[in-house]
């Protein structure tokens, strides 16, 4: 008697087929992605290309972070601002405008989109942030007719987020996002009265409210690749942007 051949269960076959299709589909997908993505990477690695960004204050690099290879980075990613604001014997004077041009250089070898987050605050003698003093009085004059755009929805009195709407080519520097810095002269009118009484009579003294406080400016520059920029920016910065087809300009949504 001929032995009845055991049939392969249909359900199992279907599951296997589906799994195989999924596997093939995903492989093709990722291969395509890899081809698109890694083809750039491949050439980048061959030409020793990498991402990098530098923050400039009055055309002088104050901090930078450039990728070398194998998770190695070069540069000082935490720099100092305002160190050259005053001359040796100068004292800071409210109302006077000081040069403060902040810009960004693409110090890597691939094109990038960049944004800068400026934070202004007052700190007391111990270095603690004082939130009762107004950051509005720290007037960094932003320039927005040269490619920089302020993201109002992401900005507050203390924080300003600016996006550079043009791609920055490797080695290029953006326009300055600011030109001058001044402290509003109204702080010279903000005084507190102290009255002390003694046998000789009343003694009245006035002190400036802002005396002894330090105004602080912090800047952070973020850079991301221009390739697949829309997704890259969403992933890296959590922001929805529109990017031109040739990936040379972007705008906030």
């Amino acid at each position: 008697m001929k032995k009845k051949k055991k049939s392969f269960p249909k359900k199992t076959a279907l599951v296997l087929t589906a799994a195989a299709l999924l596997l093939v589909g995903s492989t093709v997908g990722s291969t395509r992605a890899a081809l698109t993505y890694y083809s750039e990477n491949y050439s980048a690695q061959m030409n020793m290309q990498s991402i990098g960004v530098s923050l400039l204050e009055n055309d002088k690099v104050v901090s930078s972070r450039d990728y070398i290879s194998n998770n190695e980075w070069k540069g000082t990613s935490e720099g100092e601002l305002l160190t050259d604001l005053l001359g040796k014997d100068d004292t800071f004077t409210p109302g006077k405008k000081y040069n403060e041009a902040i810009s960004v250089k693409n110090s890597g070898t691939i094109d990038t989109f960049v944004r800068v987050i400026i934070t202004k605050s007052w700190q007391d003698k111990e270095g603690k942030k004082n939130t009762t003093l107004s950051p509005d009085l720290i007037e960094l004059n932003f320039l927005t007719d040269n490619g920089w755009q302020i993201a109002n929805a992401q900005s507050t009195k203390e924080r300003t987020v600016l996006y550079y709407t043009k791609a920055v080519a490797a080695g290029d520097t953006t326009s300055a996002l600011s030109d001058t810095l001044r402290i509003n002269p109204s702080i010279a009118s903000d005084v507190t009265k102290h009255v002390t009484e003694s046998e000789k009579g009343k003694s009245i003294t006035y002190t400036y409210k802002y005396n002894g406080y330090t105004f602080h400016i912090d800047a952070e520059v973020d850079a991301v690749q221009t390739h697949n920029a829309k997704d890259a920016i969403k992933s890296a910065w959590g922001v929805d942007v529109n990017v031109s087809d040739d990936e040379t300009t972007m705008s906030l949504q």
Binding site: L22, S26, F92, T93, V191, K193, Y208, G212, D222
Partner: protein, 169 residues
């Protein structure tokens, strides 16, 4: 109900897991970098103190003002007397519309006005002349303010109200 075979199930699960891993890998692969910088400047603000010095000489009172405080300022002088007074200085002093005499330069902390401002007077003659009279000199100072271009200026209307933290002009 027929039981599903274990082997295909394991294979299917492995396939799905592999697919998931691939998707996660591609989502994370973006080139990004960042850099930061920060700095601050301490505000050094305060009211200074000025002290007048008067030397009586044959040609009148020689007045100088010393800034004995810690902050730069502008100064002005005015004198009162029952007789007419004359003012004389080689430079830096000039008469304002309100009869005050203004020292044109900033008077830095620790320094004294130069040259002296000479306030001259003539003793009255005649029968009704007083036996003596006083020439009272008052001096005032105001903080140095700056325009946007950095030009220093004095605001002599800058008056502090008595019980407010604000000033009025």
């Amino acid at each position: 109900m027929r039981k599903l075979h274990k082997k295909p199930l394991i294979m299917a699960a492995a396939t799905l897991a592999l697919t998931g891993t691939l998707a996660v890998g591609s989502a994370m692969a973006y080139f990004t970098t960042y850099s930061t910088a920060g700095g601050g400047v301490k505000m050094n603000m305060g009211f200074t103190k000025t002290v007048p010095d008067e030397q009586i000489k044959s040609d009148g009172k020689h007045v100088t003002i010393s800034n004995t405080g810690k902050y730069d300022c502008f100064v002005r002088v005015k004198a009162f007397a029952p007789v007419s007074l004359g003012y004389k200085a080689d430079k830096n002093w000039s008469k304002g519309a309100d009869d005050y005499w203004y020292y044109s330069d900033i008077l830095p902390a620790g320094q004294t006005t130069d040259p002296e401002l000479v306030i001259s007077y003539e003793f009255p003659s005649g029968d009704d002349k007083p036996e003596e009279f006083n020439v009272i000199v008052i001096q005032e100072c105001t903080p140095v303010l700056y325009k946007e271009d950095g030009t220093p200026y004095a605001d002599w209307n800058h008056v502090i109200k008595d019980d407010s933290t604000q000033t009025t002009e």
